[in-house]
Amino acid sequence: MADYELILFKNMAKTGYDGSLKAYQQEGGYAALKRVLSDFSPADVIDEVKKSGLRGRGGAGFPAGLKWSFIPKDYKGPRYLCCNADESEPGTYKDRQLMERDPHQMLEGMAICCYAIGAQKAYIYIRGEFDLGAEILNDAIDEACTAKVLGKDIFGSGFNLEIVVHRGAGAYICGEETALLESIEGKRGKPRIKPPFPAIHGLYQEPTVINNVETLANIPHIINKGASWFAGIGTEKSTGTKIYSVSGHVKRPGNFEAPMGVTLREIIYDFAGGIKGDKQLKAVIPGGASAPFMTPEQIDTPMDFDSIKAIGSMLGSAAITVMDETTCIVWAAMNLMEFFHHESCGQCTPCREGSAWILQILRRIENGLGEETDLALLEELCGRIGGNTVCAFGDAEIGPILSTIKHFRAEYENHIREKCCPLRPKARLAMAH
């Protein structure tokens, strides 16, 4: 197992590190913020982040520095930073660890970002179920404000920052950036129509930057060690390290930090210790529930944004779900669709009606009631959702379905022909109840 340099997990990997302000400052914490406030202009910070090539870790992989630079420079009104900590993608649990184990790393990143974009108020939209995380963050903010590293007049520079922890109420869609803004504003969490983009009309119609926890946690390290150091890690287009959350049929599930571009094989067989019970690998989801499935033949692909995209999947939040040979792919697709159907916000027609329809078809196929025409219908229904919805949720929900039909068509056909699930023969019985 290769030994990679840890960046985000560096502090918490040390024994006895408790994530408190004192412990964080002992490891050199808040030095970056202090340096930024005294030596950098906001434009310098944005430049530095741009040069580092840091791409958003939330899923879309949009360059962070570029996003920050979209905020109008000479805008008079307030601007906001929203930290997207609504980590509800099935299989993803990296932000939770970052927030709970080393909150100050992320808070420092937020402070630097706020300085760069000129925001004086930042929100952390944390998933409702993260009780502990919200508590830890609130404590950390209090602690930092008392120590004057956050709050009013930080390090005597005259820069003020108020960070508010806003807890979500359990909707997956609120992880979508505009729905997140609506939710913070106290409205029903449903995505806005874009354009206008949040950088122009965001929270309360003011310019807003929305970044993932992991993205922001990288910022202090970029400032401390320089953009070129950061750009040297990972691949050319995807720099830095990435936290891979591995789950499923593996011996050692968990979060692993490794540079961008390590292969999926290395992650599964080295970091996660291989498939449980040494069975055959059947399929992998490389980037959370919305990423298309990958087959065992593709696991030598480097895990970076562009390589994964090139083979028709996406890196997303790098939540790797591993399935062994005992998994029924139709069942897996149905399971994911159940999640998407449950979480569809109901705003636009294709996603609202489509997810329910597709789910019902998948249930029929899985339970042996499928028809010959169903596969063509599924493909057509998915095709109508993709690209036709208000937000990216529509594209996300069809990914698993289309990719499983593409890679495992035979299995679907088998279900329909045999009129039962070969791997779960009792499924039909369950349907009767």
Binding site: A171, R188, I193, H341, H342, E343, S344, C345, G346, Q347, C348, T349, P350, R352, E353, G354, S355, A356, W357, Q360, I361, R364, E371, T373, L377, E380, L381, R384, G387, N388, T389, V390
Partner: protein, 886 residues
Amino acid sequence: MSFASESTLGDGPLKTMSELVTFKVNDIEVSAPKGMLLIEAVKKAGVEIPHFCYHPRLKPDANCRMCLVEIEKMPKLQTACTMPVAEGMVVQTTSDSVVASQNGVMEYLLGNHPLDCPECDQGGECQLQDFGHQHSKLGSRFLEQKRVFPKEYFGPLVEKEMNRCVSCLRCVRYCDEVMGVTALGSFDRGNGTQIGTFAHGELDCEYCGGCIQICPVGALTSRLSMYENRTWQLKKTDTICNYCGDGCSLILEGVKDDITRVSSETGAGRNRGDLCARGFFGYGAINHKDRLSRPRLNTKGRTLEVTWDWAFNKAAEDLKKIVAQHGPDAVGGVISTHCSNEEAYLFQKLMREVIGTPHVDSTARYGYINALSALNEVFGTARLSHYEDIRSADVLLVVGADMAESNPIAGIQVKDAVRAGAQLITLDASSPERDTYYSHLPSLATQHLNIRFGTEQSAIIGLVKALFDKGIASSAPRKLVNQIKKKVAVISFAEIEATTGLTENSYRRAAQTYAGAEHAVMIVGRGVIQSEGGYQNMLRLEELSILAGQVGREGAGILPLASENNAFGVVESGASSEYLPGLKRQEAKPKALTLLEMIDAAAEGKLKALYLVGADPLRNLPQKKVADALSNLDLLICQDLFPTETNAHAHILLPAASFAEKSGHYTNHEGVVQKGHQAIEPVGGAKPDWMIFSILSNKIKEETTLPYFKLVGYRSADEVWKEAVMAMPNDWQQNSKEAISRHVAAYAEHAEIQYALQTPRASNGVMDLQLGQNRYHAGTTSRYAEGLNRLLDCECVVIHPDDAEALQLEEGERVRLSSHLSGASVELPIQLSQKQGRGALFVPEHFGLSVKGLLPLTIDRESKVPYGDRGPVKLSKVAASTQVKG
């Protein structure tokens, strides 16, 4: 006066549409204003893009995805409802990918849609049906189980059938964006999304019916006409609403002679397609079974139902007898302000020319005449501002008006303006808290001048005084300025504060905002016009606007709110003791009597015959006095829709046709004249008022010796209108800038300005009672509308919860109101409302007669308007033992 309906639609992107851009749709080249939404712009090429969630009255939401079109150089299909047109855009609305996506969306929407079109009230005018025919294949591939919601009612007037819903959220957005009521919302997720109220309660809102009208499918339908007819059977007639002075365009829809539904066309009329509860649900009065159907004679204690011919002959004969015996001056006539302009014109002609009496008046005498004559006195016109001015104004000053209750559609214009960024200043005694979902303008106000009850007069002085520090507009005549300055100099802010309870600062701030505005519109309501000192207070407000320079120019002005639909028109048509047609002053000898003076004259025996058209003085004036006067008359002719207390005394009672049964012109409070068309034949044996006047004139004329008689046989209301318009030629366009400043200068020369503070009244356990309009009712006709009665069907006392708590009263408990003046008392249930001012009570005026008896009556010296809507009453709890259930 006509306003293009298109310009009133969708205020947002259309405001700046000077520049034209050229684009191509389906290879047709079209030009459209820059920034116009594609979905609207393609209509110019005759292309229709199917849509559900888009509506010109609402902001685009792009949730139905039906309007996806292909635009060159764009990677994906784009929603036409959010895409502004740009130069050189190439749009395809019928390409394969667009058609595929439209078919797809349609199939999705129809997947769970129940096949109950035959039962659905929307069937025949349903967008899902229409677009379904165009954009879906035969048969369905949806083999799964349909999602089923249970059936539900949604309050007493709205039916909700969620299975039919396409989740376009138009209803929610209308409730939010137009009405500002936010009673509706969507809850649950995915395809279980439902439209609902907060916490699943009964719909608790203003019942404007907007959600029903705007629903593209049959998810929300009216319970009032539920399943009564199919849309293709309905005959539709454009007319003007008869309830308040807003002048809304209505479409009456019905089968044969039965009105079963009301709608309005989006963007059409003064209301731009918005309606209130009265307009939408208040049509039940037209076909009510209690309508008078045949003429009646009351002679020697017997009531006879007679033919029209008999009644006309009898009326003509009796009138002639009285004219012969006592002279024409012994006859008086009063017409209701619900009658059309033609009828008012013809009535005054019947009175003045055929009979020869100057004693003509209308029910505008109950208050609106104050506003009209005060405006006419100062500006020479009463047409000073329009709804368009309100919507584009940057400051609105609303004085003494609860617009959301009395004039909801004018209220919508104010809400629109506030939403567009206008500053709203309200001045009344209500508290600024908002009550549940009902709109309440002070809650939207940037400044709410919360004065003590009944101190509008002093508050206006405060505003005028505060204005002098800000600087007076250069357009104000010096003489007027000096005179006012002298008058207000002797009044101190301390005195004003003692009376109104408002500090100097709040007056200064309000006056500064008002005077500093680019375009300010002042809206004056019943609290000024129809309360003590109304005429003088109206003059003070006009002077305020002159001093601030907010009148007599484009976009600024004064709008007095009328509570009757044609108060303006009836007076302008000459049915008023001081005005001839066209607001020309009448110099008659003997002096023309006003309504109240006629009652007095009748009591004294000077007036022998009275002709009441829709007027009900017994309801509006002290009963004993009026009853005595009426019984003293030799001849009382009443003409009405319904039996009332007054027309029970009538010697001759003539059944009149309602607004739906006749055509005629109505002038709303802006001064906009609109035509209402006849929808149905008169109910029962009723006749339109103009026809009655015309026939009666002919009957009288046959043997009359009056020399100046002209032919009064009219075949249609249009003929009357042609003549009436000729009688008031020059007053239509008197609102030019020059004419107004000329008038103001003339007024400054002869004005005698009175500025007097009211004396602060000590509240010794007495509460202030105000009678007024409820949002669900107007006048007394609305009591016959079943739909409105489902919302409010009895009198109640509205009180602030704090007051109720202090008195240990609970919602619905009965209380006794008693007057320390007359000793009379009334028992009524109470209703709690946050917006009610503390220490003040409110009773809707539409129901009982007895509350009126508690209040003192004062009469305006100048305009002879009787004020009897306000007064102190004692409120006491009814002992539990004497409480009557129900």
